[in-house]
Structure formats: C-alpha cells, structure tokens
Point group: C2
Chain length 135, copies 2
C-alpha cells in the first residue's frame, strides 16, 4: 500500500500532526451527541489521553498541556475516539464530569451562538438556549 | 466591553483566522446529527459559504478554494451555522446532495475508523460500519 492508502485504509494509527505539532480534536457529549468544543492535542496530550482515559489538550493560548476540567471539575472521560480519513483530526465522545459543561464562559457547549444574516447581508450572532447548544 | 468579552459574549461576528488565514469548520449532517468532516475556510471560502448558502472550504493540500461536491455532486447546503466562544471554529449543519456522503474515500463520514488500544497498550484502528459513522 502507498503511504496515503495505508493512512486512509489501514489499521495503523498514524496521527498527522501539523507544522505546530498539533492535531485537531472535536469533543462530543457522548450522552447527547452534540459538539461541546474544538481543541488541539500535541503528541503528549494525545498520549496522556490514551493512557489515562481522560481528555488532555494543548492550550494554544497558554502554550501548555491542559488537562480539561482539572480546576473546574469538568473532566472528560473518554467513551470512544474516531479518526478521520487522513488522520489529522480526532472525534472524542466523552462523559463530562462536574456540571456537565465544557466552555470556559459557563455555557455547556462552546457553540452557544448561531450565525444569522440580516436583510442587508450583514452577519451577526444570536445566543442559543443553553440546553439547545448548536441546534 | 473588552475585546475578549466582545468576541465571546457579543453579537458581532468576528471570525478569528489563524496565522495561515484559516478558521476550522466542522460539518454535521443536519438530518442525522453526526459529524461528516472537518476542514478549513479562508476569508473567501467563508464569504462564499454565507452568500451562496453552499459550503466552500480552503483545501490545504491543494492550496485552492474548494466548493465541496462540485465534481462529486455531494454539495452541502447550509442549514445553520454555530460559532464557538472565541470565534475560531464554525459548526455547519448541512443537507448533503448526491449520495449523501462527504469523504473522498467513499465513506459517508470521514470518521469511519475507531481508535482501539490492544492489550499491550498499542493503538490501532478498526473500521466502523458506514451507517454507524463515528458511533
């Protein structure tokens, strides 16, 4: 198999980190099925996630390893992880501890606003009911 | 309001493109609610998505604007778009044309493999039933 075929069709886990050493992680609430957040992992965050079963990320703003929920109690226990075709993105389904939220603003999901286009073609945001998250 | 508060709590759409001029886009099948793919948009792809109602991305590998489905028929009609707290990620809910799939490999969702850890601690991938995508 070619390298591309191996990566796309094979059974080997060959995560493709970008130039900054990061892979995209999308985190879903396993019970509700909705998207809670999008973050990144470096090699160490991925390794810790796999060995501990608790989601770890790399904080790009703080430039440090980030055990999600370590201070808030919103720990994310991994239910399962899916990998995309070119292995540069992971889809984590998690059970959330604490109050069940994920966003530092206090919202349950980080996707608490919807994009709307007004009559003049200008986009603006409206807040969604928290229970509704991205729907 | 501070710039951060404005971005996180305000109604202004202030997309935060990264150093490469890209924003992350997660695309969900609106009917099924599952994640189809993760891609990126530059300013032009975002503008075209908003003005045409059809998802456009920026292909990092081909380094060109990418109207998803233009050749495959898997056009993605926007149902709605949510924006995350720091406005560096979009969540698109779409109705998919053609055969309803999104992945260039022929799978419906790009997330067609699950990560499994074997008894020795080595991660590997197993293919999910296509109808099951990331579950």
């Amino acid at each position: 198999m070619s390298a591309v075929t191996l990566r796309e069709q094979g059974t080997a886990f060959l995560p493709r980190f970008d130039a900054d050493g990061l892979i995209t992680a999308i985190t879903l609430d396993a019970a509700r099925g909705d998207v809670l957040m999008v973050a990144h992992m470096n090699d160490e965050a991925l390794r810790l996630t796999l060995t501990t079963g608790i989601a770890h990320y790399w904080s790009r703003s703080r430039r440090q390893l980030w055990k999600k929920g370590e201070t808030s109690g919103q720990l994310q226990t991994i239910v399962d992880i899916a990998v995309d075709c070119d292995q540069d993105a992971l889809l984590l389904r998690v059970a959330v501890g604490g109050d069940g939220g994920a966003c530092h603003t206090g919202a349950r999901s980080c996707f608490y606003r919807r994009l709307v286009i007004d009559d003049s073609g200008t986009p603006y945001l409206t807040r969604l009911p928290d229970a509704d998250s991205q729907r």
